[in-house]
Symmetry: C2
């Protein structure tokens, strides 16, 4: 699993463990050049030297290495009004290394390939009855979808160098990226994705969907620096991004917003406690309170696009039971998020996943509750925002993990391929 966007494994206070070496310096400086070009391309070699403080000789050597690795391209600069002959410009290679994102939902499989600029170049989506069949069948179909996406990428001149899979479940911290510990809505328990991966492609690193949704928001959405991401999928997913890094907590449970107590001694939650957020604001609760759950075939699901769409259509039409259900869910979300603001002091709160599609009806009640409960610090209404990525967040985040790793530590490409 990439280290980008995650806390380092050894971040106890104190200096680095090993001596600093020339090799470390080279690697740091490659990262500095790559990051500089990624942040403001096109740039000339002279621009890069100016922005990094490196000498032009050093920049040239580093740039040549990045071009050789397929990470940067150098071409003619656009003509500008400036005096002097046009230089040659460095840009991110849009037909070089790329990231593959995969997703397993209760009712679908998704895949996407993003290039080094973060642009979506391939996107596939298939309905699939993942909650009612063995994990092996789901993984076999996913592997086929992954192969199809990689083949389409090759046609575009792209080369997938990293694969990450978003799952609606928990991934153990001590064996990151290899297996799913528990995914109740898929009926998965201890599924080893790596050993069970049906060849010939490379198995993806596994990560929780809420975490990847939050990272996507950091990299391409409205989350900046320090924020709390709350999303509705199966259950309520929460994730914390602190100072630009995903914060997992010591056992991987950080951001468990769904089990924050919002109504002491209130409704019984599936976890066994009373008064958690989930029985008040989970999509199952909203569908039930709106009367929609009873009208749909079988149990309504947060991944069920028809149910969410129908909820939004009824709210749009002013259906009073539906708007009331969304208002009450918004108030409960506000109570839980007020606790998150008082504890973490984030810059923003981001409402993602299926909640983003219902934001119009959730946000007013959420904002009213936040204003009521947050008094000791300023809290502007617009610090709570709906995600522009909505339900695409997790699969985009999965692909972006690789893209961002190449931006922040390009040498990882050589190290991985040499291994």
């Amino acid at each position: 699993m990439a280290e980008d966007g995650q806390q380092p494994p050894d971040s106890e206070l104190g200096p680095r463990r090993g001596p600093a070496s020339q090799q470390d310096m080279r690697r740091q400086n490659l990262a500095l050049v790559m990051h500089t070009v990624a942040a403001a391309h096109p740039l000339s070699r002279a621009d890069v030297a100016g922005r990094t403080g490196l000498t032009r000789t050093a920049v040239s050597s580093l740039v040549d290495e990045l071009i050789g690795g397929g990470l940067l391209l150098e071409g003619e600069l656009e003509r500008s009004g400036r005096v002097g002959r046009p230089g040659r410009a460095l840009v991110l290679n849009d037909s070089g290394p790329a990231g593959l994102g995969l997703e397993i939902g209760v009712g679908h499989l998704s895949a996407c390939v993003l290039d080094l600029r973060g642009e979506v170049r391939v996107e596939l989506h298939r309905p699939a009855p993942n909650s009612s069949r063995p994990a092996e069948q789901t993984l076999a179909e996913l592997a086929a979808l992954a192969t199809e996406a990689e083949q389409q990428a090759v046609v575009l001149g792209l080369r997938v160098v990293g694969r990450v899979l978003a799952v609606p479940g928990s991934v153990p911290l001590d064996d990151p990226g290899r297996h799913v510990e528990h995914a109740p809505n898929l009926g998965w328990h201890q599924v080893d994705v790596h050993s069970g991966w049906p060849g010939p492609g490379v198995a993806p690193a596994v990560e929780n969907e809420a975490n990847l949704g939050a990272l996507a928001e950091l990299w391409q959405g409205v989350g900046k620096g320090t924020f709390v991401h709350v999303s509705a999928g199966e259950g309520i997913g929460g994730a914390l991004v602190l100072d630009g890094r995903l914060f997992r907590g010591v056992q991987g449970f950080a951001g468990e917003l769904g089990h924050l107590t919002v109504r002491p001694d209130g409704r019984l939650c599936s976890c066994g406690a009373r008064g958690c957020l989930e029985p008040y604001a989970g999509l199952a609760a909203v569908l039930h309170a709106s009367g929609l759950a009873e009208e749909l075939d079988g149990p309504a699901s947060g991944q069920d696009i028809d149910a969410i769409g129908e909820l939004a259509r009824r709210a749009e039409a002013g259906h009073p039971t539906t708007t009331r259900a969304l208002h009450h869910a918004g108030t409960a979300l506000g109570t839980a998020l007020a606790a998150a603001v008082n504890l973490i002091d984030p810059a923003t709160l981001v409402l993602g996943g299926a909640y983003a599609d219902l934001a119009h009806w959730l946000l007013p009640a959420m904002r009213a509750e936040l204003a009521e409960l947050i008094r000791v610090r300023p809290w502007p209404d617009d610090a709570l925002r709906a995600s522009p990525l909505a339900r695409r967040g997790p699969v985009l985040g999965a692909a972006l993990v690789t893209v961002r790793r190449l931006h922040t530590d390009p040498a990882t490409l050589w190290l991985t391929e040499g291994a």
Copy 2:
């Protein structure tokens, strides 16, 4: 203000901003040697080379520089049973650079000096009516106390090289260490400690007392890695330490446990909201509920040692109103801390400040409430601990900031003194 124990000012995801240099390498390696000796002294030069991976020649040059700066001493190793002639051993210098900690409470002033080993060498405590006099008078008396502590340190061969002041108030993030924004219990608003510092000594860097209490717990107490520290002083102080660093949030309000909603639509809090933790578990609330507030002269204060001591004596004697008041406060603390566990997933919760003196009666109700509300992750009873430092935490933390900075970045000593 020292950077030790705080998030770096620029911690957005991405590589370092400037190029890596030989000077950076030297500084990193000095830190590596200092940290290695601090963690396991006495060590020989050969031990240091073995533990760090640096060459013996490099270690000798780095060690000589640290000895020259007064940070390390080299003497005969104790005779051991091992074969071979005794080597010479490196230890932290206990008569070298030292840290001064200062504290302004509502009813007292404190000062202490800690040597490089973290040992308390000077400790002064004076009753002082700080809440009922102008800030200038308090600062004048504090400056005199600081001078007295530094003079006593000189007699012991110590040289104070860093000064930090703990205040029961907020310190702005954009001008760290220079002024107090708001300290309601002192009646302070916008007090510039640096400009207002009465000569001839050096003005201290200012920091919030709850943050320093948490750092003291990290460095000398029972907090390790990632934990939440809750203390009772004036109001309820909370602080988050994440991966060994103090986490302040984007506006410096992180850890505001006192204003977490524990009883929706409950008691009115001084902040204007209803149901906050403070009117249920703040010391004023406990003193009131126990009936003790009415018996004491004037308003009872969390810094009032007699009130806390009397509360403990009555609880010890089985006084039912007192034990009931502490039980209810413990339950409310448990409700708020359960939210912190669900959000942050810490390794431990630390009960500090005056709460530590009452831990015997608070902990059972806290543990019962935590067990009731934390269901989705394991939470052992002993993950909640009373601080061994209790009310001394903030002033010890203030002095330790300097000591830890010298351990983790000893070159700061030359840079500071050369400035």
